[in-house]
């Protein structure tokens, strides 16, 4: 069978709604797109540990500390799981980390914003995990079976995170004036960046067309963003928060909330590396990865010596 025929057959399978298993034949470009997307998703989980880790030592109660630590641990677990899924394309985790460090692989831009107050722990759970759920619920229908499975599993945990984040903000809105101001300030800072999480408009999105054709994604960026806006506006109003957008209005005909145009210059600037924390996040990852080298070397040397000598040391 020629490559062309294989590709045609592949597309027929996709169109018929079949799922693609790791051992199945797939076009190079499909592989590359999925590898890029899954590895970047894994990196996002790992880099996302940093902004939340920033408040771990300052959590305001025993319960809050336990919930936050468990959440960050879940994210590390998601990262691990996604790295494994990405490894099915023949590139191992060490190489993926090297791509992250060199800038060849990206991660979600949302983590390039700083967490300045405790309210940001609420905003990240509520808005960032909330946006991720909208996106990942869609990705759970992805044509590549390993990614789809990972999304189903991850979405369950993200659901907890989103509720816990909303709870933090809701509690603060019921608290002192200082707490309410802190909560509103947090929404003001995270609202627009979380809308940007869905990516550029459909017309501007470079990978969207192929991804839709291959059913890696089955809904457009703008459709997903609108779903998130409609949900979140109601949730904000419910606890007395104001959406920081003067043009926000409800359209009775379409039954959707309409918002201002997003500041795309800022979006592209952060994507290109000029956000407030891009340098900090990557430097942190590189620094601690390098710090850990002697530990990894030690573990490797120990395993080798045990194999070689069939050592009597038992652990």
């Amino acid at each position: 069978m020629t490559e062309e025929e294989k590709e045609k057959q592949f597309q027929q399978r996709i169109d018929a709604g079949e799922k693609i298993e790791p051992r199945d034949w797939m076009p190079e470009a499909y592989k590359q797109t999925l590898f890029r997307q899954i590895s970047q998703h894994a990196h996002s989980e790992i880099i996302g540990m940093q902004p939340e880790g920033n408040w771990l030592l300052r959590a305001p109660s025993l319960r809050a500390k336990k919930i936050l630590l468990a959440k960050i641990q879940d994210e590390a677990g998601h990262g691990l799981y996604l790295y494994s899924a990405a490894e099915t394309f023949g590139i191992d985790r060490t190489e993926m980390i090297a791509m992250l460090h060199s800038g060849k692989a990206k991660y979600s831009s949302i983590f390039n914003y700083p967490t300045l107050t405790w309210a940001d722990m609420g905003a990240i759970g509520w808005l960032v995990d909330g946006a991720a759920i909208v996106n990942q619920t869609m990705l759970a229908k992805c044509s590549y079976v390993l990614y789809s499975r990972a999304m189903i599993r991850i979405c369950k945990e993200e659901g907890f995170h989103q509720r816990q984040g909303y709870e933090i903000i809701a509690k603060m809105m019921n608290g002192t004036t200082a707490q309410r101001n802190m909560a509103q300030d947090s929404l003001n800072r995270w609202w627009e960046p979380s809308l940007m999480m869905f990516g550029p408009h459909d017309s501007e999105s470079t990978h969207s067309k192929d991804s839709m054709k291959w059913k890696i994604k089955v809904e457009s960026n703008d459709t997903l963003r609108q779903r998130f806006i409609d949900r979140t506006v109601e949730q904000a109003h419910h606890i007395g928060l104001t959406i920081p957008d003067k043009n926000l209005k409800y359209n009775k005909t379409t039954m959707h909330w309409e918002t201002s145009e997003i500041n795309w210059d800022e979006f592209w600037s952060v994507v290109k590396g000029n956000g407030p924390c891009n340098y900090q996040r990557i430097s942190h990852h590189i620094h601690y990865h390098n710090e850990g080298k002697w530990v990894r070397d030690c573990a490797t040397a120990f395993e080798k010596s045990r194999e070689k000598e069939n050592s009597s040391i038992s652990i």
């Binding site: 940093q50 030592l57 109660s61 710090e291 030690c298």
Partner: protein
Amino acid sequence: MKTKDALYNYCLRLADSNMIHGQRLAEWCSRGPFLEEDIALSNMSLDMFGQAEMLYEYASSLSEDELSADDIAFRRSEREYFNCLLVEQENGDFAQTMMKVFLYSAFAKQLYESLLNSNDETLSGFAAKAIKEVKYHLRHSSEWLIRFGNGTDESKMRVQQAVTNLWRFTQDMFEMNDADTALIDNGISFTTDTLFAKWQLNVNEIFAAANINTPEINNTITGGHNGIHTERLGVMLCEMQYLQRAYPDAKW
């Protein structure tokens, strides 16, 4: 010392050690040598916070001032924390952290095994739950010490340096004061003399397997159980209590 006061003080001692140990382990979050180990460190930290919470809850039930577990955990000053000095020491490198986890969990295992026989049901119940977690911490850290001691030249050097840095704080875990005297008389807690012997046996065994030399240091530092700490604790508390101190009326 009245038994109730002694018990309150003793609960804080155990709770504070777990809380401060957990806080130090949490510092590793996103800084582990590789992802699986990052997760393991968070796991141990979570166990510690869970154990601390159980004991603070118990202390809260004994408190005459109707303090909540959170009040007790976050609203005291340096001289009112009774954790052992070992756990407040800086994490240092991964070898030093694993050495700290090893020395402390080897102690905690012996302590909780003795508390299984406590006349106080809450404490014996706590020990039964906590011992499972502590055994895992002990195994995990023992495995690392053995790897370090049989790994590379660098890892051997680092693990030896780790024990040199920490050894002076180990005696402090076994120190007894008036609270112990009151509780031992009532069969609530037990003398630490026998714990020390068992702990030493455990340490010697792992050190032998890891080719680690026990430091010959005359300089032993004690005082944690009486609220006399090293300079490290105050700095940790500034961070840990920031929100509680800055917004005293807020509920979170």
